[in-house]
Symmetry: C2
Subunit: 202 residues, 2 copies
């Protein structure tokens, strides 16, 4: 798709909001309510949605089920994606069992850690492996997404392993930025920065 | 401060990057390297930094320690801030013990959960309380930041309690958006959306 990056991010947020509304059996939503929910303007919501050729705006607003369906199609969000977590510390294990991922189309199929001791003691229904097995497991299971939750000093090495194993995208929770080939879709969640951005506005 | 919201976010990222460089004893950094590290352009880096009146750009680049010091001053990031976590499921307990918060100036001083059973069994060095005590503890300890990690259906109620107790800012990890008074600095980390934004670019 040739859609600007910020538009994709907003459309994904709209998709998430439509999912919430759909579960509440709400049939229609205005661009104003979508704008409030995702923190942008009505104009931007309408522009973003029109950009991907979505139809179905009525006087009552957008039809929730139909818009979600069309967005899911255009954004390629209808396929269940396989993902793995690397680094099974407290954050990694919390992500491993984060039930919402599965409900939302992301199937965490494997966890990896460098500590065999940790792998043996962990309580989870997900298959867990040594990092030594990462490349084999990821490529054999066709895992598309790698989620990194290892300490800073190992983040780049893990990213390189994930890329060699064939993932298409990486979400990095470690506190450092990593370098990946431009073919890889990459994003980072910086927990400290989220707090700093709040505190800087006090 | 009257600085645009996006600029504050980028300056916080720059601050984080300077912190990493400082720990590696790197003395100078170019606007180009800062731009790569935070995912923006050199022009934007220079504009953002000049906007808050920072000086000290030399032929070798910005002086890391001095720029970090000035940014910390302008962004009000030099004060240690007290924070609490509400909702001690796996994600909440992982955040409770996320050591980097403290190193980065955010002191998690309390955790809250509605389950007394969970509070009694939890292993952590942080003080944990029943949600019934939230308003008292937050106001008595002068907690400025509330981090919400409760299930969707309780998120709004917890946000209201935090606001009544006097927090200035809220970071919401629950899968729904909440409404807060415009005096409250509010941000949400949507874990599913982070994965969707990656998958939509495949």
């Amino acid at each position: 798709m040739n859609i600007p990056s910020n538009t994709i991010d907003r459309l994904c947020k709209i998709f998430g909001q439509l999912d919430i509304l759909g579960k509440k059996s709400i049939e229609f939503v205005s661009s104003k309510d979508l704008a409030i929910a995702i923190g942008t303007t009505e104009y931007t919501v309408r522009k973003d949605i029109s950009l991907i050729g979505v139809t179905g705006f009525t006087r009552k607003g957008y039809e929730v089920v139909s818009l979600k369906e069309q967005l899911g199609e255009k954004l390629n969000l209808k396929t269940q994606r396989k993902a793995c977590i690397v680094g099974l510390g407290r954050l990694g294990t919390a992500l491993l069992d984060y039930e919402k991922f599965k409900q939302d189309g992301f199937d965490i199929v494997a966890g990896f850690d460098s500590s065999i001791n940790k792998i043996e003691r962990i309580h989870t229904s997900i298959d867990v492996f040594s990092v030594a097995e990462l490349e084999n497991v990821v490529s054999q299971c066709n895992i598309e997404l790698g989620i990194i939750a290892v300490p800073s000093e190992h983040a780049q090495d893990i990213a390189d392993k994930l890329v060699r194993a064939g993932v298409k995208g990486i979400l990095n929770f470690s506190p450092v930025e990593i370098n990946v080939n431009e073919n890889i879709i990459y994003s980072r969640i910086d927990l400290t920065n989220a707090l700093r951005s709040i505190a800087a506005r006090f």
